[in-house]
């Protein structure tokens, strides 16, 4: 029996482990100091009341034979109508018309982001931005695909644009971006869609953070761009939209008009899902179906506004210090340039030692992340304010 040797080519990421170990060592050495983590990548606010109520009702449904739910009604998209309809409605509000058959319910964006590759040949060239969410890279290394990088840097505001001289088959875009917080305008995405159509390439569009977008010139779905249904799959999540990181629900849009070599990618994905997946919890789906209702959107809007205020506090702090950054306005992430030409780890150590504040070194996301640093908006207002005061004090010293 032979293992998949591509796994041996994976680099172990010690980024978060090293951040954790350094933070723990610091706490042991300075038990009296209050450490504030602006490195949190997880949500911290509880689920919205409409979601809680819907999930309690769904649990009760499972307690009685008459209302009990077994396998999901559809063995390809796995979605209950109530959830599918609410997703169609939410797209309609973004000006995008989808069909029910375009939607596949999943246990989260990360799963689909990896699993979607099952339907694509290993003999494709992949284009990923640098810096990048490591999942895009590692899932393709596992499958042995050739990988090219699109340089994101201060010059392009960490929003790389297509290079007509580069030939790619599969293109990853994430907007608003993790880790940089930078978000493409509709005009910029138009160029990517044009490039993909020209090259017969497929865009895998990660929209996990779209709910943080307020600026109407920015895209909230790639399908807001004409032609995208012929070249893009969009992967969406309730994790950051509605605090579902521990509940696990996402949805992936594979438009029925999306074909390659005369084959429907929608049908390929349906076949993949019917064979290698068995749906998302009924209870989870009923909770998710409450999110895009009128009252649901109001309630999750409050949570997102809370995180947005943290992002504003961080951005304002950096503005007053004259520090260059991306994100913060339409994203829970702030990607700042390390002050005084410091390296990512150098700044990490300085910030921890002198301000007891923890962030994430940008170099952990790719070579272009060196000299940059990620802060997140998922802590409390109080802690975020205190952290920015400490950073200001440190950098003005």
């Amino acid at each position: 029996m032979k293992i998949n040797e591509n796994f041996l080519k994976l680099k172990d990421s010690y980024l978060f482990a090293t951040v954790g170990a350094k933070t723990a060592a610091y706490k042991r050495a300075h038990p009296d100091r209050e450490v504030i983590r602006l490195s949190i990548g997880d949500v911290t606010l509880p689920l919205a009341p409409v979601v809680i109520d819907a999930m309690h009702r769904a649990v009760d449904d499972m307690a009685n034979r008459a209302t009990f739910k077994g396998y999901a009604p559809d063995q390809t998209c796995y979605g209950y109508d109530r959830l599918l309809d609410s997703i169609l409605d939410s797209y309609a509000r973004k000006g995008v018309t989808l069909g029910k058959g375009d939607i596949f319910i999943s246990d989260g964006a990360k799963s689909d982001c990896g699993n979607i590759l099952d339907i694509l040949s290993a003999d494709n060239t992949v284009l990923v931005p640098d810096p990048v969410y490591p999942v895009y890279l590692d899932t393709n290394i596992m499958a042995g695909r050739k990988i090219l990088f699109a340089d994101a840097n201060e010059g392009n505001g960490f929003l790389p644009m297509p290079d007509p001289n580069v030939r790619a088959d599969i293109i990853y875009l994430c907007s608003p971006n993790n880790p940089t917080g930078a978000a493409y305008t509709k005009e910029q995405l138009k160029a990517w869609v044009g490039y993909a159509l020209m090259q017969d390439a497929l865009i895998l569009y990660d929209a996990a953070y779209e709910y943080f977008v307020t600026d109407s010139s920015l895209a909230r779905s790639i399908y807001q761009i004409e032609g995208a249904k012929n070249c893009a799959i969009e992967i969406c999540s309730y994790s950051k939209t509605a605090g579902f990181t521990g509940v696990r629900c996402g949805y992936t849009i594979v438009p029925q008009e999306l074909t390659r070599d005369g084959v429907s990618l929608n049908k390929l994905w349906a076949r993949r899902q019917s064979t290698k997946f068995n749906g998302t919890s009924y209870i989870t789906q009923m909770g998710a179906a409450a999110v895009f209702t009128e009252e649901g959107e109001r309630q999750i809007g409050e949570n997102i506004a809370y995180y947005r205020e943290n992002a504003r506090i961080i951005s304002a702090g950096l503005d007053s210090l004259g520090i260059w950054y991306t994100g913060g306005k339409n994203s829970p992430y702030i990607w700042m340039k390390c002050p005084n030409g410091m390296g990512s780890w150098e700044f990490f150590d300085e910030l921890l030692e002198k301000a007891s504040v923890v962030g994430t070194p940008g170099c952990g996301f790719g070579k272009n992340g060196e000299g940059f640093f990620r802060l997140t908006a998922f802590n409390t207002h109080e802690n975020t304010l205190e952290a920015m005061q400490r950073i200001a004090k440190l950098l003005k010293a």
Copy 2:
């Protein structure tokens, strides 16, 4: 962009679609007749009260900041300690000692059954039984692996044994079996473990139905066999054990001692899961953690006893008709030989037309299923009794 062309080699299974269409047509033609489905592959009894209570409490945890749960505590096994400990306890009661690090929590056996192949080279030869749960076959066709079949038939009681002349790298075993209900004794599994160790092969052992086993000579886990930790991965599910088909929770055991080419398969699977999965709902996990408690086992035992009684009714009916079958005793499935030399579809039509009873034609599970027919124990006592009376009347006519 090239698609994965292996998908084009998949055969579409029209088995359940055809069963559904024929049944619907019959109902339209005979609206007065009461059709009984002994083709149900899904559970029908509601969740146990301990599970319902645990899930309500978990939903409440998600409503408060202090008790809210985001991403799972461990980004490789994704299990909460309460659940992991309960699984270790349940194995201990089967006489199997595992370590916490051997267990990976999933959204169900079907997902893991397909996804586990990610860590194995496409250049392996796979041995699957015929007839077979289609997932084993299709997931390997998708990856382009060479597939061999182990013939299951009346001669071997639908329990094929290893053939030392056949060279295989990956071996699928499911016991008690879907679709045949046949279950291996520990002695028989010993031969499979010996064969796998000799050949350096890997057994993928599907234990989804182990809770239906009462006969102590039959295996409930492959790790009851010495040496299995060096050659087998076991895939388990709460679906049939505790009625979780709509809740989605399973667990996969990849023993830490399991290595190939000096590489730990446990570490490969951990890397796969940390990259392409993000865990199972906290609410689901808390429900599952209630299953293997003392009260939980008592309550799910009642549900399983209910299904077992249906299996007994079916078996007794077939016994009195002198019809050969496998399963029914330690399994919710009964795999009967079609009477009078009939083909699977021929018997399906006869049974539907003359007795208004629906089953599943065995030929849909592989060539060796021709002439056989699957009945299931998931209907009510009343319907099961009525169906068997109709079958007796039909066959004695």
